[in-house]
């Protein structure tokens, strides 16, 4: 029983880590309908910048998160400018291929010796892990931080998208660029902003990720990126709470499978459940599946 509880906590930690990445993913998707495969790689860049910031440049953890967010926001804007904007009026799949290209570029470029180098680096985040025991449930300060950040981001993003002027503009842009332009919305600016925001979220995710899994390397973004995206789809992509819900489910499924079924089948079962859920709810758990109005 106590083990089960501990496993559920393990699953929660994993789920919240996925959520950290999935939130940014789903934001960008919600506004521009682009599966931004480079998201996981921006996450990687964020983790590296954070690492440099706290190991070599003398920043605190908070400072490292901030600087990673700012630099990655700029990187996001640059990527959008160069690789996506020229494809604004092209078929959606073209942007997806461009995103794949950007993703590969970031991975291979980062592994050059004079960039980040190909090594797996062990990092020492400026935060000691503290273990608490809450009535038999083991909890660490890092878990607490990650959970709080996810909840905070969830609330902030919900507020931003549904309660602010720029959020409304974002939703308008997500529907139709021309219509948004006619409202006086600078569509290019809104999309840049969305990318900057998404990339900043990825960067924050990257730095916090190293707290839980203190190791970085240029290809570290692929799997978490893919899992987080899957989680976002599971919850209903484009829907902010859906990203968190999907992530938590993924986390539980993976953990419980590994713990009680077989660790070999962990990924297989996670994706099997994804497929089954989609068959029952074709737009994800929270997704509205309004049939196309004829």
């Amino acid at each position: 029983m106590e083990r089960l509880l501990e496993q559920i906590i393990n699953g929660l930690q994993l789920g919240f880590v996925y959520a950290l990445i999935a939130l940014g993913y789903t934001m960008v998707y919600g506004i521009i309908k682009l599966i931004n495969f480079a998201h996981g790689d921006v996450f990687m860049v964020g983790a590296f910048i954070g690492y440099f910031a706290y190991t070599f440049w003398g920043f605190s953890l908070f400072g490292a998160v901030l600087i990673a967010m700012v630099l990655c926001a700029l990187l996001g804007i640059l990527i959008e400018r160069v690789a996506y904007r020229p494809l604004r009026y092209a078929p959606r799949i073209a942007a997806l291929i461009s995103a794949l290209g950007v993703s590969l570029f970031l991975e291979y470029f980062s592994s050059l010796k004079f960039v980040f180098g190909p090594n797996f680096r062990v990092v020492q985040p400026p935060l000691k892990e503290i273990h608490w025991n809450l009535g038999g449930i083991p909890i660490t300060n890092i878990q607490v931080i990650i959970v709080s950040v996810v909840i905070l981001l969830l609330l902030v993003l919900q507020y931003l998208v549904y309660r602010t002027k720029i959020g409304t503009a974002m939703r308008a842009v997500s529907f139709d660029h021309d219509a948004a332009r006619l409202m006086g919305i600078n569509v290019d600016f809104i999309i840049s902003f969305t990318f900057a925001l998404g990339s900043a979220l990825a960067a924050a995710g990257g730095v916090l990720y190293t707290l839980a899994y203190p190791q970085i390397y240029p290809f570290m973004g692929i799997m978490p990126g893919l899992k987080a995206f899957t989680a976002a789809v599971l919850g209903g992509i484009g829907i902010i709470p859906g990203a968190v819900l999907g992530s938590l489910i993924m986390g539980q499924v993976e953990t419980l499978t590994a713990a009680y079924l077989t660790s070999q089948m962990r990924d297989a079962i996670a994706f099997l459940i994804l497929i089954v859920v989609l068959l029952v709810r074709p737009s994800g758990i929270l997704g509205r599946s309004d049939p196309e109005k004829v």
């Binding site: 409304t168 308008a172 409202m183 006086g184 569509v187």
Partner: protein, 239 residues
């Protein structure tokens, strides 16, 4: 107020406008009629900045806006209700209207504009909380027009506002256009429903495959035999 000079527009290699020039004076309703594909929508899209012309000038109150981005043109006082309405289906009626006032920041003035829109379109007031996508066709058209008025435009571009509306709503919409105009907004109206358009307009232009072929006071245009046979149809409908 608006002066278009020698406008040429291309979609890729297809030329949609072959050098058209026309004028809209302050306080007028000017209508642009023409067959399908003549380039009416293209003209409006070019004025509001959605499409870049290859050649020609668009003077709005004396400044050339042919290279100005769409979102800036809105700020200058030009509002465009596009073909097919393009309301935001996933926003509520109120949010749609607020989107219309995106360029403005004075809360109180926005509130006043909102009241005016509700006065023109009382039906929208009943449905402020409803998602715009679930409105009926006529209501959506009202919303699109109301939304454009929220930017307090001095020039309103309307693209086929009567399309797909029931006869009673068509009348109502034209009534509203007249009212809007009476309250001081200049209107450039594109219509297939040439009967109605020519009834409320002051002046009219006829567009044929990207060229202007006729212009004049609305009444004259309506009585022109060529127009009668080409656009108004010489059918007598049984009733």
């Amino acid at each position: 107020m608006l002066e278009v000079k020698d406008l040429e527009v291309f979609y890729g290699s297809i030329q949609a406008l072959h050098g058209i020039s026309f004028k809209v004076n302050e306080g007028e309703i000017v209508t642009l009629i023409g067959a399908n594909g003549a380039g009416k929508s293209t003209t409006l899209r070019t004025i509001s900045g959605l499409v870049r012309p290859r050649r020609g000038k668009i003077l709005f109150r004396g400044t050339d806006i042919s290279r100005v981005p769409a979102h800036t043109i809105v700020r200058m006082g030009v509002a465009h209700v596009p073909e097919g309405r393009k309301i935001f289906p996933n926003l509520t009626v109120l949010e749609n209207l607020q989107m219309g006032a995106y360029t403005r920041s004075n809360k109180q003035e926005i509130e006043e504009s909102l009241e005016r829109v509700f006065k023109s379109f009382p039906r929208l007031k009943e449905r402020v909380k409803q998602l715009a996508g679930t409105l009926s066709g006529g209501e959506q058209q009202m919303l699109a027009m109301g939304r454009s008025l929220m930017s307090k435009p001095s020039l309103l571009l309307l693209d086929e506002p009567s399309m797909g509306l029931s006869p009673i709503l068509v009348e109502e919409i034209f009534e509203i256009i007249k009212n809007i105009n009476r309250e001081g907004t200049t209107v450039l109206l594109v219509e297939q429903n040439a009967f109605m358009a020519l009834q409320i307009a002051h002046r009219a232009y006829v567009l044929e495959t990207g060229k202007l072929v006729l212009e004049g006071a609305a009444k004259e245009v309506r009585d022109n035999p060529k127009v009668r046979s080409a656009y108004l149809g010489e059918l007598s409908f049984a009733s």
